[in-house]
């Protein structure tokens, strides 16, 4: 099976989910000051969900820790991020 859906792709990745989110989205800024919502498109794990009220919901559990959202975001302060605690987060095995 060569062609795969995004869900099928994500099922091949191992995550050890920590207790605290390492990325925090200030949805207030997304709602009031951002009309682009670049994070929704660029995130390779598709973790940014646009809400009806114009805000953004973020799931940190299946994050690749790549930093693309932070780089792509054009609103200062909307995304705060650091790395997950040691040993937590994504664990690649084959890449």
């Amino acid at each position: 099976m060569v062609m795969t859906t995004h869900e099928e792709k994500m099922r091949t990745v191992r995550f050890r989910v920590g207790a605290t989110p390492h990325i925090v989205v200030n949805s207030e800024i997304c709602r009031n000051e951002c009309s682009v919502h670049a994070c929704v498109y660029v995130c390779p794990a598709n973790l940014f969900v646009p809400l009806d009220d114009g805000g953004i919901l973020f799931n940190y559990e299946q994050c690749f820790e790549c930093g693309t959202c932070y780089i792509a975001c054009n609103q200062e302060g909307a995304i705060r991020w650091s790395y997950p605690d040691g040993g937590y987060g994504v664990t690649f095995r084959e890449s």
Binding site: T12, A45, V90, F92, R93
Partner: protein, 442 residues
């Protein structure tokens, strides 16, 4: 210098156990110094993704003779293809080398799987005497009297002191920023790579890619493959799998509102790619940022008590013909290690002493290469060279080869007509020819 508990005091602290960090720790340990190698992943390589072709075989061979006999390598790269794509056609330049250091020792490059290769390399540093601590995130540097004297690991009593800190913490280097050596990046300076490893029988791989025994091939694709997103794609052969992926400039993904994994699916479905990946079974999906702007995003490389190497220093050469990172990571890690060793011998860790790093980088051909190709990234990673011209070449070949009863056009009028029909202005074309020449020829 203040004294600290002996168990928390090192000569050198290396942050990040990728190829830069592990090579640095290995060299420092061999010099008989006390070195700590910190890695935030469960094991070295757990967070690391690249294509991955490692073109640093000769470099590593100087450190560990015949390293490929013991390391987890996939296949030596003996064929390289560069393909120009339109949505339905492809024109490829096919390079094969059966001997002369490509298919024979010391080899030119190997495909590797980073979690396995990086883990092995860190183990070599450990065997040489480095202390390796995994599951350890470094949040900040420690300062005393304005100079960096160690790092803060996210845990109880996480202050660890070292005479020199070498930051090899990757493309997002929080440490280089904390130390005030690196600025925030612009979305046009970085590209996102998304990748899949597809399991495939070794016999099928050999037949399908015309490979002798364990030889391997590296394909790189330019042109319409990423639609209108500035970028390209790659496909490499491993022992019993393929590594393939799509690379897109972050700013361009944002502008075009493209999802990277959808581009990956389109790449696999391209008529020139689909037969190569047929029957492959997805083993792992991954993603990583690439510091593609080279010289333009280089941080200040040293300060009192600290050096920066590898992706953290932007030492990744992404310039069309070249797509190399691990070799420069290793070379810069070694140059940083040589600098740290010298500083320890002198007992002086000031920026002035550490400035020898620049000379060491030159001697290891890192800064010289990046300087020589400083004009390439901004231009090569732009829309015309990565996408438009390659696509035009592919379309041009289609018109040359097409026999449909219409009169044959000679190449110059054909090219003239194609340029006229495209969005390129003749003046622009001339300027681009000059830019390519300046980037690659002299």
């Amino acid at each position: 210098m203040t004294t600290h508990p002996a168990n928390q005091q090192f000569d050198v602290i290396v942050v990040g156990a990728g190829p830069a960090g592990s090579a640095a720790a290995l060299l420092v340990a061999r010099a008989g110094l006390k070195v700590l190698l910190l890695e935030r992943g469960e094991y070295p390589g757990a967070k690391n993704v690249s294509g991955a072709v490692f073109y640093g075989s000769a470099i590593l061979n100087e450190l560990i003779p015949n390293w490929w006999e013991q390391a987890p390598v996939e296949r030596p790269v003996c064929r390289r293809d560069i393909a120009f794509m339109s949505p339905t056609t492809a024109v490829a330049l096919d390079f094969r080398c059966a001997g002369a250091g490509f298919a024979t020792a010391p080899y030119n490059g190997f495909t590797v799987l980073r979690p396995k290769f990086d883990r092995w390399l860190a183990a070599q540093a450990e065997a040489a005497g480095a202390f390796v601590l995994t599951s350890a995130v470094v949040d900040d540097v420690l300062r005393e009297n304005g100079r960096i004297v160690g790092v803060r690991v996210r845990r109880e009593q996480g202050e660890i002191y070292g005479k020199v800190v070498i930051a090899c913490d990757g493309v997002n280097s929080f440490l280089a920023k904390k130390a005030g050596l690196q600025r925030e990046f612009h979305p046009h300076e970085l590209s996102l790579g998304v990748k899949e490893v597809l399991g495939l029988d070794p016999a099928i791989i050999q037949d399908r890619f015309h490979l002798t025994d364990n030889d391997g091939i590296a394909y790189e694709y330019l042109g319409a493959i990423t639609e209108d997103v500035h970028g390209g794609a790659f496909l490499y052969t491993n022992r019993d799998s393929l590594s393939l992926g799509v690379i897109g400039q972050v700013s361009s993904l944002v502008e075009r509102r493209k999802r990277p994994y959808e581009l990956l699916e389109r790449f696999k479905a391209h008529p020139a790619v689909a037969p190569l990946v047929r029957g492959g079974k997805l083993r792992e999906y991954s993603a990583h940022l690439i510091p593609e702007s080279g010289w333009a995003m280089k941080p200040k490389l040293y300060t009192d008590g600290m050096l920066v190497a590898g992706d953290a220093a932007g030492f990744c050469l992404a310039a069309g013909l070249y797509l190399e990172g691990m070799n420069y990571a290793m070379q810069s890690g070694l140059a940083a290690a040589e600098t740290a060793i010298l500083a320890c011998q002198k007992g002086n860790f000031s920026a002035r002493t550490l400035s020898v790093y620049q000379k060491n980088l030159k001697q290891r051909h890192v800064s010289t290469d990046f300087r020589a190709y400083r004009h390439a990234p901004s231009f090569v990673n732009g829309p015309r060279l990565q996408n438009l011209y390659p696509e035009m070449v592919a379309q041009g070949m289609e018109q040359i080869f097409r026999v449909d009863g219409a009169p044959k056009r000679k190449i110059l009028p054909l090219a003239y007509r194609m340029v006229r029909q495209s969005s390129i202005k003749p003046g622009q074309l001339l300027r681009d020819v000059y830019q390519v020449a300046r980037a690659y020829l002299w």
